[in-house]
Symmetry: C2
Subunit: 330 residues, 2 copies
Amino acid sequence: MASYFENSSDALVPDALKGFARAHAELVTLDPEHGFLLSRTAAPSRRVALLSGGGAGHEPLHAGYVGRGMLDAACPGRVFASPHNRQVYAGSLAAARAEGVLHIVKNYTGDRINFGIAAERLAHRGIPCARVLIDDDLASDSADIASGRRGTGGTVLIEKILGAAADTGLGLSELQELGTRLAARCRTLAVASAAHTAPTTGEPAFPLAAGELEYGVGIHGERAQQTVPREPLTGLVERMTTALLDALAPDGPVIALVNGLGAVTPLELYAVHGELAALLDARGTDLARALVGDYITALDMRGFSVTLLAADEEILRLYDAPVHTAALRW
Amino acid sequence: MASYFENSSDALVPDALKGFARAHAELVTLDPEHGFLLSRTAAPSRRVALLSGGGAGHEPLHAGYVGRGMLDAACPGRVFASPHNRQVYAGSLAAARAEGVLHIVKNYTGDRINFGIAAERLAHRGIPCARVLIDDDLASDSADIASGRRGTGGTVLIEKILGAAADTGLGLSELQELGTRLAARCRTLAVASAAHTAPTTGEPAFPLAAGELEYGVGIHGERAQQTVPREPLTGLVERMTTALLDALAPDGPVIALVNGLGAVTPLELYAVHGELAALLDARGTDLARALVGDYITALDMRGFSVTLLAADEEILRLYDAPVHTAALRW
């Protein structure tokens, strides 16, 4: 038996979805055939449905963001595997509004392919469909990587902001433009001091010596380009923050997400946040909003990510709009 | 260097408190001298302040429950160590309302002593003070344990309910009576498949063979009375739930808390919740409310707890009252 609490590694995701739908029955329904989650509550002003999805193992992403003011539907795949295009298609059909559906897709090959096939089928049905691609992972920002930057923590912030924008009644192309603009204004860096447990073997998914750190790790355990020695937190956060600020060069307020990848404690995340806030203060950058906690995880990886999104007044107003989902509520 | 992300093991808690106060500046202030957190928002109708505290390492408990509709103040100690009585005294003085302060104390010797000394000093100052002792851990329910049952997951539910009751304007003895009644109606059981990382050594705090489970583990890594073989989730949850129902014999609705102890994934917790809900359905017990997530942790322990609270209409009404804290909001 693997080291996860489960009936079997195949049963874990379907069992979790059933439990999730039961725990949040006022917010979502679970489609028993295709395994997508559909919001029970959405603003009547919303003309376009927002649908996201991707591999399981990143909870609360995406199911935890279905509900009022955020996603209309989420399609979870198996652990670290893209949802099937039939699932995305069925979820899109169920969620679609008068002016169609916007797919919010993290930049991974499998997700791009499956969401793409679903979008073609939707087009054949006459349902307008567009895509926002999230590619905020600074560690995969390299001319050597043909697939481009991976999508990671920024997804949470962008799904929140797009949800509020959809509630104001924006159309499909307006939402796509806003989402694309948001993705361009967002970068994330992640580090890990231990890999997640591989679901099938119960062993760490990659080796890492004590005192070493994966700097720039991916949310599926993609190894970083650098393995670096551990250092005290102040220096580590300064290094990460400097890289993010260099990439974004924000000239206005920023929204930060200090995110646990699974096994990191809230004590550590709040300590990271304190360092981040002090650094931004020192650099004269306005830390306008912040989230601290487990918002997009990598099973039980011992690591954290820092996301910065270069905001403006309009973005902050959308971010502040009320939201009621399982994992985000204000 | 230990395996936590920190500047030093001594710095982690103070650094985290600074980051927490920064992230939730609209909800709390941090007393720089004594290290307690004080709510910035409380109902004017509240006549008695609610203060809790205990060792750090259990976040979001207690700091995450300071705010509107819940605690007026929280006193975190060092990791797994009671707050100092001077800290509890200073926090109580700062928080006290016209009719005094209620201490919500988990049943551990150090906490009992330090809250007790603080209460005596408060009495000398003429400030009414009473105590609710939380002792919900079924695993330590034994005539052999002179110190009584430990306090654990039930603390979260009881702090929520007492917060709503305090907002209705109840007096000190009424709140103490209600809290004591709630504690008697609440039981918790926890299991772990791996210990937390000891902050000073970076090693697992206790050994546990692959395929073994600590059944009845404590939130500081107190070993269980039983080490049992791993089993599929359905059987494990049935065993835990049956023990809780046998102890409580609820004759009305129950509130459940499915709680992660640190490194367990949301997938697993929701799978647990699904099993729990199915079992309660089958037994004819009304699962009226549920929380699923990390609400009271044990650093990065790989385990979870299940708490049941035997409710009634009044308790459900108080539970449903609005709350706005860092970790609980509705």
